[in-house]
Amino acid sequence: MSTLEIKDLHVSIDTEQGTKEILKGVSLTIKTGETHAIMGPNGSGKSTLASTIAGHPRYNVTGGTITLDGEDVLAMSVDERARAGLFLAMQYPVEVPGVSMTNFLRTAKTAIDGEAPSLRHWTKDVKAAMAQLRIDADFTQRNVNEGFSGGEKKRVEILQLELFKPRFAILDETDSGLDVDALKVVSEGVNRAHAEGNMGTLLITHYTRILRYIKPDFVHVFVDGQVVEEGGPELADRLEEEGYDRYAKGAGAASIAAAAAAAQA
């Protein structure tokens, strides 16, 4: 049983107009076996939270802590976090020209496990996982994400999730841009990984659609860099009906501005 604990997290980025605070005191605790959904309008800081947990250099933590079973995650480099068991399925996976998927997957698996996987089992595992996610076998010969469609990139992220077996998976809008068939395939992959019982999941999404396939235990609503409401799965149903508007009305001036900006974007 592991615990990922985020306490009073403040995060800012440097922009041309100066420093901008995006997360304004976020607290969240996820345990093995739990699925947490983070929902919120565009620009509310959901993806910033995901990237900050993974350690993207663009985001500066100005206050608060992130710990994994008591270990200071913020003190770890990006690769150390991954080896400690954190996995970020990215919203926009980048193409890495010239690096084949085969080479990449094996290198990453070796780094995470601390030893090279047995070649025979590994090849079999990769093939099986790819088949379940309906990824063509020839993808292993292609370069990482190069020329993949949006849906293919997302499926390949989930392929990595299934192969690397992290302790905590953070899915950053994995559902956006997917058609319903791809959404099902991807959700099944996440559910398979979750069913093994050794993983906690943080599911970041703009839409409630994916929650029909992946059942959250907790739902947190993000507005303007803060959690404004928390609850069980029923909260997602309510969001489905009412949208995010009521948060903007009830919250302070700053969040109304954020909601307005989001509406324009």
Binding site: D79, M90, V94, V96, P97, V99, T107, F164
Partner: protein, 428 residues
């Protein structure tokens, strides 16, 4: 000539001339320098004064106007101010541009499958000069001084599956001259690897003839010792529907200057010019290529990629592509990418595209020189891969794009290993 007029003349803009001289019915402007006498330098009845006295036109304005001659005396001594020498440290040429090249030429050892003809001939052989004509003083110096040449002939319709290996081993630091002729006769198919090793100071001319419908790949691999100086003019002449792939791989040597070129003599031909170079501290690796589209409906594609690391590592890439008035239906693209791995390295990149007709399929050029892409690094590191390994993967990946196109498995493995050694040298 001022910079501005040079530039205008180069792109053939009408404003370089008084009024609208040079306009045609297509509305495209033609540089008057080329309009009347425009013919490929080696194509049939050349209008250029090709063997004596240099070419027509204005030097340094259009690539077509460059002086070409078999006579060393036609080329003025180099000052380093010349457009095509301005990046080259002449002091490090070790006399290739000034001295008689009387040193022992690198030894040539050809291993060829049955059916391929390998000959050593004297300089009066009629095939000498059939594909190339020197375009600079160093090349002309080699032409003046070489004593014998190696001629490799792939007979008509021969399909040679194993590569033809040409091991070229340097014989020391005395300035020398070398001449090689490669001819793929019509409908033949072959791969030739020029494998440069050891220590040499050499100016080399390689003539390449690709016959009608032939498919030839020439790979020039420079893995010289650190004290070597190598200038190589590799000129190809293509027949109708010929396919030519040329790959430069420069890794070793103090100064390596490659000048590959491709000339079309009939329609339907395709060239692919690829290059990979990896410069370490103090190395100067230069590549200047020329694709001369002088006939209609030919294709060319150029991609050179380089990595640099260490103090005073210097690479130069200049890509000249000329689409002449008569080369309608041309399709061409050239690109150069450089990855600078450390401070103190310098990459010069100059893509030049001259277009004298608008009736083409496509023409493009691109160049980018940069450091690591942080997003690539982040993606790999977010999968547990350490920064050191991630950087190595990215560089390997960057250069692999060229290696993957070689399609000779043994050579691909060897080059991958060579790139690994380069990377290991500075822990990148």
């Amino acid at each position: 000539m001022t910079d501005i007029t040079t530039e205008k003349a180069r792109i053939g803009a009408p404003s370089a001339q008084p009024f609208i001289n040079g306009f045609t019915e297509e509305g495209e402007s033609l540089s008057p320098i080329n309009s009347a006498e425009s013919k490929a330098p080696l194509a049939g009845a050349s209008a250029k004064s090709h063997s004596h006295g240099g070419g027509v036109g204005i030097p340094d304005s259009s690539r077509a106007g460059r002086l070409t001659s078999y006579n060393l005396a036609d080329f003025k001594p180099l000052t380093g101010m010349e457009e095509d020498w301005r990046f080259t440290p002449l002091k490090r040429l070790r006399g290739l541009h000034t001295d008689a090249l009387t040193g022992t030429a690198p030894e040539v050892l050809v291993t060829a499958p049955l059916g391929v003809l390998v000959e050593t001939v004297d300089r009066n052989d009629k095939r000498i000069g059939s594909a190339a004509i020197p375009e600079d003083r160093v090349s002309a110096n080699a032409w003046e001084n070489f004593t014998e040449a190696t001629v490799i002939t792939v007979p008509a319709e021969a399909q040679v599956t194993d590569e033809i290996s040409v091991l070229i081993t340097g014989q020391g630091t005395e300035a020398s001259a070398q001449h090689i002729v490669i001819e793929a006769k019509k409908f033949s198919k072959a791969v030739v690897v020029l494998d440069h090793q050891g220590t040499a100071v050499v100016s080399q001319n390689v003539e390449i003839l690709v016959g009608d419908g032939a498919d030839l790949t020439v790979i020039s691999l420079q893995e010289w010792h650190d004290d070597s100086v190598h200038a190589s003019s590799q000129q190809a002449k293509l027949g109708r529907d010929a396919k030519f792939k040329h790959i430069v791989v420069s890794l070793g040597g103090d100064l390596v200057r490659m000048t590959p070129s491709a000339r079309f003599t009939a329609t339907g031909a395709e060239v692919e010019l690829l290059g990979l170079y990896f410069a370490d501290a103090g190395q100067h690796l230069e590549q200047r290529l020329f694709v001369d589209h002088s006939v209609a409906n030919c294709k060319s594609n150029v991609l050179y990629k380089g990595a640099l690391q260490g103090k005073n590592a210097h690479t130069v890439w200049v890509g000249d592509v000329l689409i002449r008035k008569e080369a309608e239906g041309t399709d061409t693209y050239e690109a150069n990418r450089n990855l600078v791995l450390t401070d103190g390295a310098r990459a010069d990149s100059v893509p030049n595209l001259e277009i004298e007709t608008g009736l083409i399929e496509g023409a493009g050029h691109a160049s980018a020189t940069g450091r690591f892409d942080d997003e690539h690094l982040f993606y790999l590191m977010a999968r547990g891969i350490s920064e050191e390994v991630a950087r190595r993967l990215v560089v390997r990946g960057f250069l692999n794009e060229i290696i993957q196109k070689i399609k000779v498995p043994a050579l691909e493995e060897r080059l991958t290993a060579a790139v690994e050694r380069e990377l290991a040298a500075t822990n990148n």
